[in-house]
Symmetry: C2
Subunit: 134 residues, 2 copies
DNA sequence: CTAAACTCCGTACCTTGGTACGTAGTCAAG
DNA sequence: CTTGACTACGTACCAAGGTACGGAGTTTAG
């Protein structure tokens, strides 16, 4: 028994999900979204497609790439929580590493700006000299 | 009076700087690196070119884009410290913003992983459900 | 002297996540 | 029934920072 028989065209689907029509078609090409059967040349999408799109958007929002999202969705099919957790944990670690790198860069730049403010115009600009030869 | 008369070909220059030959040529096309006179069809590079390349690499290392690096180098020519400082300060701010965004994402993911570890296999995986409907 | 290695130059291609365009077919309103 | 809006499909294009390739000329080692 189907709960809902509602179907819509790609334009309605895209609008409801808040993405462009071309984006929907792009996800289909990437294998992230199933291509529904066409009735007479026109594809008919249902609420499951809409949920998939919303899932993709939320997953993107927490930093997953489309490739990782595709992986998550196959994990969903196999109901493997452990692998999904691993994927998320890995993502957390890579974000932490990235934050550390960025913090170092910001500190190096702050150091340069201070140095530059102290020195007069006669000396070469430390930001430009990039004196922090690592 | 020239301190050094040493000149080298593009291959040697690239190797010394730790970049590819194509990268050197790419920087020339982008206007980041001057094209030296050719002796008989072959360009002859000197230590100034090598220093430029090293400058570019260090500036990239602290997060400047090639476009910003080009700007920094024209500032170098005009010896305008204030503009260089502004450029660096802006870069610091954008890095800080990026760090905050990433920290939020990492927290959301940590929350999901904890939730997933608490629940049993019978419930749908929260990471996959992406229960954090924003 | 010849062959390998290097250079020059232009152009095409790669990644990621889409956007834009053109042609042809189709659906809905007036 | 025609016009406008929509759809399908294929292809090209965008940023950024390069990488790869093809063909022709040059230089250098053996």
């Amino acid at each position: 028994m189907k709960i809902s028989e509602q179907t819509f065209t790609i334009g309605k689907l895209a609008k409801d999900a808040g993405v462009g029509v071309e984006t929907v078609r792009y996800y289909q090409r990437r294998g992230l979204l199933a291509e529904p059967p066409a009735v007479s040349g026109y594809r008919r999408y249902d609420t499951l497609h809409l949920e998939r799109l919303n899932f993709i958007k939320r997953a993107q929002g927490v930093g997953f790439t489309l490739e990782e999202i595709a992986e998550l969705m196959t994990l969903n099919d196999t109901r493997d929580h452990r692998l999904a957790r691993n994927l998320a944990s890995e993502k957390i670690r890579s974000i932490e590493t990235r934050i550390e790198q960025l913090a170092k860069v910001a500190n190096a730049l702050r150091h340069l700006v201070r140095e530059c403010e102290c020195g007069g115009q006669e000396m070469p600009c430390p930001i430009i000299r990039m004196a922090l030869t690592p």
